[in-house]
């Protein structure tokens, strides 16, 4: 049975199909064209098609077949494709997924290719984002674009509350928030921190240099002093009434509420640059700005504070037989000119530092805050279970925000829950250690 299935799978394997297709193409066109299959996710998968004509001109022998996959289904699709042996040659992968596919042994180590590349080199990227692509010392992908969070704020409301500049430290921030709240009055708030998002408490924890997990990623470490301080600061913002205890689902229209002054600050990502320009009324377009996140304390080199090193990478799959052609595509998409075009088309921030010299980016004050922030990124734990753990952080902190349990109690249950989730990982780590001995 298993053998039949194996034969069947081999018979219809995409590799064979591609060869047949290529053969058919040869028969028709007469020229040997190599087909590279690329999976792009969501909007990026759509926009990347507009970059490809230039690639086709440079490499007429390579035909790129783009398949667009919605973000909501991407993770399942990639995993099932791995199991079914139908992965493409190259794909866009969320950088927090890299550890998972590395564990599966699905990704090619790109280190040797980068060492020979004239386009891609570690030094040309923001170190924080490059770092997320290194799992156990193996380069699993090349950063394509960065997704980090900064502070969006209303300049007019800050000025009215007597705040001259965006905050640089938590102490300044807390003070500013109190002033904003005092001026806003009841029913309005200083800052919006949706309670179902894990990003904000995690960022605060990273700013306090909390490791979140133990060094080998085998157990939870949310009861560490650093994370407890961060969680307390976060929860107190709600308890003091500076932030409303609402989840994203309860916010009917973020942009209307920001325009109405329901909150003066909001921590969010680059996708909202375009949205704020489109959706806020014209009268408010001069009244909002962005700033890098404040640091936990001013220790001389800690300003601004770190933010998340999110984003997507381009990765090659080990099973691919067209790695060389696919690598050409990765190099092409990594060129500064293409990175800038990609930003213009999709609003995704370039992961390369040299792309930021382009006037399109350097001339945009709202984007500049992101550039500064990109120099201060911190990676979340690089283990396959991270996505599930992140969800738990928001879930467990919510009762503390609502005052149902204390911060310590919430962190206790969070620790227990995450530790349970990592049971298998601990066993695998112990097993690997035993084998190594």
């Amino acid at each position: 049975m298993a053998r039949w299935r194996g034969t069947l799978r081999r018979a219809v394997s995409p590799g064979v199909l591609a060869v047949l297709l290529a053969a058919a193409a040869c028969g028709r066109g007469g020229s040997a064209r190599e087909v590279v299959r690329f999976w792009g996710l969501g909007r990026e998968g759509e926009v990347v098609k507009e970059l490809l004509p230039a690639f086709r001109e440079r490499y007429p022998g390579i035909h790129v077949e783009v398949q667009q996959i919605p973000w909501t289904a991407a993770h399942e699709k990639l995993l099932t494709a791995f199991v079914g042996g139908s992965l493409p040659d190259v794909a866009q992968i969320g950088n927090t997924w890299l550890p998972e596919f590395h564990t599966l042994g699905a990704l090619e180590d790109l280190g040797p290719r980068v060492a020979q590349s004239s386009v891609i080199a570690a030094g040309r990227y923001f170190p924080g984002i490059w770092d997320t692509n290194l799992v156990d010392g193996v380069l699993c992908g090349v950063p394509w674009y960065v997704d980090t969070r900064v502070l969006f704020y209303r300049t007019d409301l800050l000025a009215a509350a007597g705040v001259a500049a965006p905050p640089r430290t938590w102490a300044e921030w807390h003070d500013d928030l109190r002033r904003l709240k005092a001026r806003a009055g009841p029913g309005r708030w200083a800052i919006l921190l949706p309670t179902d998002e894990w990003a904000q408490p995690v960022i605060l924890g990273l700013q306090k240099r909390a490791t979140l997990l133990t060094a080998d990623g085998g157990d939870a470490a949310f009861r560490s002093t650093a994370f407890r301080e961060a969680a307390t600061f976060y929860v107190d913002l709600f308890r003091e009434g500076l932030a409303p205890a609402v989840a994203n689902t309860q916010i009917a229209n973020l942009y209307q509420q920001f325009a109405a002054g329901d909150f003066a600050m909001y921590i969010t990502g680059p996708w909202n640059l375009g949205e704020f320009r489109r959706r806020l009324p014209a009268s408010l377009q001069g009244a909002w700005a962005t700033a890098p996140l404040p640091a936990a304390e001013d220790d001389g080199n800690g300003v601004p504070g770190v933010s998340l090193a999110g984003g997507s990478s381009l990765a090659l799959f080990r099973a691919s037989k067209r790695g060389d052609a696919a690598w050409k595509l990765i190099e092409f998409l990594s060129e500064p000119a293409q990175q800038v075009r990609f930003y213009a088309l999709a609003g995704d921030l370039p992961a390369r530092r040299d792309a930021w010299n382009d006037p399109l980016l350097s001339g945009d004050p709202a984007a500049r805050a992101f550039e500064e922030q990109l120099g201060h990124l911190a990676a979340t734990p690089r283990i396959p279970e991270w996505e599930q753990i992140a969800q738990k952080i928001a879930e467990h902190l919510e009762p503390a925000i609502r005052g149902v349990v204390t911060v310590d109690a919430a962190l206790g249950t969070l620790d227990k829950d995450v530790s349970l989730l990592l049971t298998k990982r601990r066993w695998v780590l112990a097993r690997e250690a035993a084998h190594a001995r």
């Binding site: 049975m1 909501t72 993770h75 399942e76 995993l79 099932t80 791995f82 199991v83 998972e100 564990t103 599966l104 042994g105 179902d196 989840a247 689902t249 309860q250 009917a252 229209n253 396959p384 599930q388 298998k424 990982r425 066993w427 695998v428 097993r431």
Partner: protein
Amino acid sequence: MRVEARRGTPAETRAALFFLAPGLFVIVVFFLLPIAASFFLSVTDFDLYALADPSNARVTGLANYRALLSDPVFLTALKNTLVFVLLGSPLTVGVALSAALLVNARLARAKGFFRTTFFAPVVTTLVAVAVVFRYVYHPRFGLLNRGLTLIGLPAVDWLGDPRFALLAIVLLAIWKNFGFSTILFVAGLQGIPESFYEAARLDGAGWWQQFRRITLPLLAPTMLLVGLTRTIDYFQLFAEPYVMTGGGPLNATLTMALLMYKEGFRFWNMGRGAAIAFVLFGVILVATLIQFRLQKGGEA
């Protein structure tokens, strides 16, 4: 007349096996083997690490099942599924029976037209339906909220508010599925001889008495069939919440089938996913047996 059990000649046995073989083969390969394999999966911790290296899988006995019972997310899914069944199943039967009575009424015109109309949602692709219903449920521009505000009620964020999302999905599921039950009921109604009603009318029975004394009792087998199939369908509800809400907000529309899919294919915790499948199977089995008992009891 009794048929004596008799051993066939060897040739007859061979012939019987030969003719049965294709059917048995299909049942064993596509039905029994996968069930046995899933059950085996459910007593292991087969997951991402096992996918990377099969020796990372361990037989863990009932650990998956025990873990499920103490998992708040699973208990939420179980509760949601039961609410879906208790709300959706009787409502679908009620709506379908009403529609069938209307279509079958002697005074009704254009019966074929209505039959087709009621059946249309069943054959429409769910994804297309979902797109339309997202507009209907839209908090600001939706048809439903427009109606609510017209009669002076506050607008509701149907899919975004954890209190209403489940109801919104139930309404969609009823609308999508009642047509099939309607057809079954119409067939059942047409099987009741008209002479029974004539006799009842001569005896002075009103509409309600005819319905209670003739229609309902004679419709009982259809009722059992529709009730059972609907209940099983609602227990396995997956596509509606998957395309409309993804199980959100705050797991308010997470069903057991959806959780099984998420555990199995999003996080690749195959052992856990398989355990959920068997718990769901057990729950459906018990619910079906209870329903059998109740309806049998009602008949007696």
